[in-house]
């Protein structure tokens, strides 16, 4: 009888621990469709056990405590809010996706939100434009612009760059590009592109009759001529591959920050038609 009681107590204390035992803690910023697709892709690429915490479902989530108590082997941060929460963790490796603020850190790697510049350059070639305007904040997207400059030079495209330190400067810088560019390259720069300034890009494109190439298909409806859209499922799958490597024992400093491998072109035919640009295909 005493033995049976011991077994019952042991099972009662052990079962919750067993239920919480997992390898990957998935921190998801919210239940947005893009995040869900990224998670879906991750699950298809990584079969390790997971616990998903959607931060927007709670008023406050103590990620440090969760990690300390549950000790996952890996954290997948989906979105900027999730990345901000994961930054508090120092020991556990973090793979970040769907975030604009990923930068090099000891325990952090992931996939950037910036499609390879070659993809854009290829599109500009198809659009037959040579002078492409870019507005960006060097502190946030300076590293990307360097690669973009190199890629553009290779295909004979001249990038006319304007730098901004605050969103309000964007409008003046856009005005300074009037008459000097054949197309506008809208970078996913959270300083240069905000809710208040995004309209100015498309108004500029309309007034100057130049195509605006964006990074998200949702801007096509506002007047973008084309977009190089990131395949979020593929991005999740790419993160799953990273996670598998880390779970297999690879060191995180051997896995660099990479660009998304899955991208696709989206075009707005009516805008292109108004700009007298022939139909473009990938």
């Amino acid at each position: 009888m005493r033995r049976l009681l011991f077994v019952i107590i042991a099972l009662a204390t052990l079962f919750p621990s067993l239920a919480q035992a997992y390898e990957v803690l998935v921190l998801q910023s919210s239940r947005n469709a893009g995040y869900e697709q990224a998670l879906k892709g991750f699950r298809s690429g990584c079969i390790a056990s997971q616990r998903v915490v959607v931060l927007s479902d709670y008023a406050e989530v103590d990620v440090v405590r969760i990690v300390r108590e549950e000790r996952p082997r890996l954290i997948l941060a989906i979105g900027d809010a999730a990345l901000a929460a994961a930054r508090k963790i120092r020991q556990t490796p973090v793979v970040a996706v769907m975030s604009f603020g990923i930068n090099a850190k000891a325990n952090l790697t992931g996939i950037t939100m910036f499609a390879p510049p070659t993809k854009y350059c290829k599109l500009f070639n198809q659009l037959k434009v040579h002078n492409v305007g870019i507005i960006h904040n060097p502190d946030k997207t300076g590293w990307y612009l360097d690669t973009a400059q190199k890629a553009a030079e290779k295909v004979g495209i001249k990038l006319i760059v304007r730098k901004v330190a605050s969103p309000r400067e964007t409008l003046a810088q856009l005005d300074s590009l009037a008459g000097k560019v054949d197309a506008l390259w809208m970078l996913p720069d959270t300083t240069a592109v905000t809710r208040e300034t995004v309209e100015a890009y498309f108004r500029f494109g309309q007034q100057q009759a130049v195509p605006v190439v964006s990074f998200a298909a949702s801007y096509l409806g506002m007047g973008a001529a084309a977009a190089v859209e990131i395949d979020t499922i593929e991005m999740g799958r790419q993160a799953g591959d990273m996670a598998n490597a880390l779970l297999r024992g690879s060191r995180i400093d051997t896995i660099p920050l990479v660009a998304p491998r899955g991208t696709k072109y989206r075009i707005n035919q009516s805008v292109l038609g108004k700009l007298d640009i022939n139909e473009t295909t990938e």
């Binding site: 947005n32 893009g34 769907m98 996913p188 990074f215």
Partner: protein, 467 residues
């Protein structure tokens, strides 16, 4: 003239009163509806202008969103000034940043007078379609457009005032037109509706004026029509009764005349034989018998005089009137002379106004004046200094003649009994048959006049008459 004989005043007519009530009521209702309509319309116009200004402010807000976010004052100033040219009656544009800082304030003359200005303020928010890069990629929804600033438009209401004046003028003109039309229709309807009523009133007025043969034209079977029929029936009955009375009166007068005439013959025989006995057989009679015979003679004479009076009274209504200009003053003077001759010893002061001329039957008027003056003469017989006066005065615009004395007088309670034939007031102590004043009344009535008396016991009497 009696009150009910007055001609019908238009203002007091039934038709006019109804018309007045209808028109005043219609005017009142029209004014009430006019006021409500104008008030509603002006409020509506003001609301419309406010809504229009709100839309214009929203349009301007859409236009200035980007320069407002960039706080580009020159562009904002240019857009605000452009708005003042494009939007009519605009008096001012104020653009503020989200922190309340005024970036542009364009004011035109007249914008400070808040009484004549409508102001609309619109918030300038980020484009609802615009999304941040995070949302654009993740497919998330934004919490809502962010506030960038505010734009206020001030607009004058001068055009609204002009519009209101025009509205009031047109509405008033239409109301007056409506009122006049309704009043005209009301008048025509009332005229038709009250036609039978007017016919009834015309008929009654004709009957009142003495035309008993007049009948009311019954033109409908409504209430006035039925009343007209009833009045016609009454008039017929009255007419028949009048004829009966006239016949009876004529028979009575004929009876009176024949009785008086037939009595005279045996009376003459009695009187003649009494005279004969007195002259030829009185010596055969004793003193007592002669006294009786004298009483019989005197009685016969008095009876003869009474018969003469009756015949004369009866003839007043039978003889025809011969109208001519008559000098009443002269008649009065002659009558007074006769009275003085009869009793020359009496001290009577006779005051007769000269130049009283009337139109009437000379003989009848002479009888009337004889009676009135002899009446005054008789009733002042006890006065040492009697005063008898004949004159004329104005009463309600008509000449009224009078005979006044300072004789015995009478109480006013007996005033109506003075003119009853053969009726004498008790305690007068004056000889007579009681037919004199009745004769005067009949003569005055035959002339279409009226006679009445005023008196006070022991102070005198005044007889007034009109012709």
């Amino acid at each position: 003239m009696l009150p009910y004989m007055r001609p019908l005043n238009f203002r007091s007519s039934f038709q006019y009163r109804l018309f007045r009530v209808f028109t005043l009521l219609t005017a009142f209702i029209a004014i009430v509806f006019l006021t409500i309509y104008i008030t509603f319309e002006i409020r509506n116009q003001r609301a419309h202008i406010s809504a229009q200004l709100h839309l214009q402010a929203q349009h301007l807000a859409e236009t200035i969103r980007l320069p407002l976010y960039a706080e580009n004052r020159p562009v904002l100033q240019q857009l605000a000034e452009g708005a003042t040219y494009q939007i009519p009656n605009l008096r001012g544009v104020v653009i503020k940043a989200s922190n309340g800082k005024v970036l542009t304030d364009v004011r035109l003359p007249g914008s400070d007078n808040n009484a004549d200005v409508i102001e609309e303020t619109v918030e300038v928010r980020s484009d609802t379609l615009a999304s941040s890069p995070e949302s654009a990629i993740s497919g998330g929804t934004e919490p809502g457009p962010t506030l960038i600033g505010k734009v206020s438009l001030k607009r004058s209401t001068e055009d609204l005032l002009l519009m209101s004046y025009r509205l009031v003028a047109i509405s008033c003109a239409m109301t007056v037109g409506f009122w006049l039309t309704v009043s005209l229709i009301c008048y025509l309807v009332l005229r038709r509706v009250t036609k039978s009523f007017n016919a009834l009133m015309q008929g009654i007025r004709a009957m009142q004026s003495g035309d008993l043969s007049a009948r009311i034209n019954v033109i409908s079977d409504d209430e006035p029509g039925r009343a007209a029929s009833a009045v016609n029936d009454l008039a017929n009955a009255l007419s028949a009764r009048t004829i009966e009375l006239e016949n009876a009166n004529r028979e009575l007068e004929a009876f009176n005349y024949s009785v008086s005439h037939d009595l005279r013959k045996p009376l003459t025989v009695i009187y003649s034989y009494c005279q004969f006995i007195q002259e030829f057989c009185s010596h055969n009679l004793d003193t007592q018998c002669r006294e009786y015979l004298r009483e019989i003679c005197e009685g016969s004479q008095r009876m003869n005089q009474l018969i003469d009076t009756l015949l004369e009274f009866a003839s007043l209504t039978r003889s025809e009137l011969h109208q001519e200009n008559v000098d009443l003053s002269e008649i009065a003077r002659n009558a007074a002379k006769g009275l003085v001759l009869i009793e020359p010893h009496r001290r009577v002061s006779l005051c007769i106004t000269e130049g009283i001329n009337v139109k009437g039957d000379r003989n009848l008027l002479q009888v009337a004046m004889d009676n009135l003056l002899s009446n005054a003469w008789k009733f002042t017989s006890k006065r040492e200094e009697a005063v008898i006066e004949f004159g004329v005065m104005e009463d309600e615009g008509m000449p009224t003649y009078y005979v006044r004395d300072n004789g015995n007088g009478f109480g006013m309670t007996d005033a109506n009994k003075l003119f009853i034939p053969f009726h004498r007031l008790p305690g007068t102590g004056v000889d007579g048959h009681g037919i004199g004043l009745a004769t005067v009344e009949r003569i005055i009535k035959r002339h279409g006049g009226r006679i009445w008396a005023e008196g006070e016991p022991e102070k005198g009497a005044t007889f007034y008459f009109t012709l």
